[in-house]
Symmetry: C2
Subunit: 194 residues, 2 copies
């Protein structure tokens, strides 16, 4: 939960370029209180869609509570968890926000965003604040296409790109079922033997 630093929008794509699982936050714009009742959904299905303007896509099953919220509020935040949030990442994908407040259940802290009404998750390592530009039906999911209007990251883990720590790269990647990839190492193709 270190202090976050702004990431230039031209580099925001690198927050998810390597395919991590993400925690997407969204709000019910008609909810009571401010900034509205916030929810969290775990998504492996995400990608970069454009460099300029910076855009990303997230796919949600059409029955999901977060699908309903993003359709209404037209905003979302992509939060990138590190391996220390593995259990919360798993849990947020298995509990419905219709029934439970996932921030409370998984001891996560909502933090005001700069450009959208949706909160960030303070414990995550990187964030992208997004405005929905399009929603495309693809089979049993909807792809929400968002323009990234603000990006932030923990400078000890992301500095121009995700950096290798003593325990490798800290992001987590969903292999399927209850299995995740973590602790990947960095190789520079220009200097492969370093």
């Amino acid at each position: 939960m270190n202090h976050k630093k702004q990431v230039p929008l031209s580099r925001a794509n690198r927050l998810i370029n390597h395919g991590p699982v993400i925690l997407v936050t969204c709000i019910d714009p008609s909810g009571n209180g401010s900034p509205g009742k916030a929810n969290i959904i775990t998504l492996a299905w995400n990608m970069v869609l454009s460099m300029s303007p910076p855009m990303v896509g997230i796919a949600l099953g059409r029955g999901r509570y977060s699908h309903e919220l993003i359709e209404k509020s037209r905003e979302f935040v992509v939060n990138i968890p590190s391996i220390d949030l593995l259990e919360a990442t798993w849990g947020c994908g298995r509990v419905s926000g219709r029934k439970e407040d996932k921030f409370a259940r998984f001891k996560l802290t909502p933090l005001p965003a700069r450009r959208v009404a949706v909160p960030l998750i303070a414990e995550c390592s990187g964030h992208m604040e997004c405005l929905v530009k399009e929603a495309v039906e693809t089979g049993d999911h909807t792809l929400f296409v968002g323009e990234v209007v603000e990006a932030l990251a923990d400078p000890s883990l992301f500095s121009d790109h995700w950096v290798e720590t003593e325990r490798g790269i800290q992001t987590i990647h969903h292999l399927g079922g209850s299995l995740f990839l973590h602790q990947g190492k960095v190789v520079d193709v220009r200097h492969p033997n370093q």
Copy 2:
């Protein structure tokens, strides 16, 4: 280049669920020879878009030669390279197929697919044969949405999911610039200490 085994279409999503960089093959349907002049493009921007029917998305810059080919032929193959193909993966993203035959240049072997006219890359570890269902303009890229009609993988590396070898998971993930993540380990969130 082991013998490949069919992956059930209900599990095909797991070939790219964890966000690897892919090599997409495509052909010029108006080209001479059979199955037409094939090309290869390296893409970090890919994702799963639907479980049933199984669908994936790939984003291509609109000036790219492969963009032109996929628009014409409405087919593509997603090939997943292992770390031993790092240099070819890098190279196929930096050379244009308008000028060079990338199969020849990077010593890759085209292999007939089962359901599409586009060849597979024999040296890759997994493959998804796709039919284009939609093309969506997203900023400076086009998202091609493909239905997966056939999936194959090397059973020593993928068996229901990517498996950890002595040198970790063998797929590669693009961090940005010339940097890639590799050798990730597997953690099972249900048994995190094993």
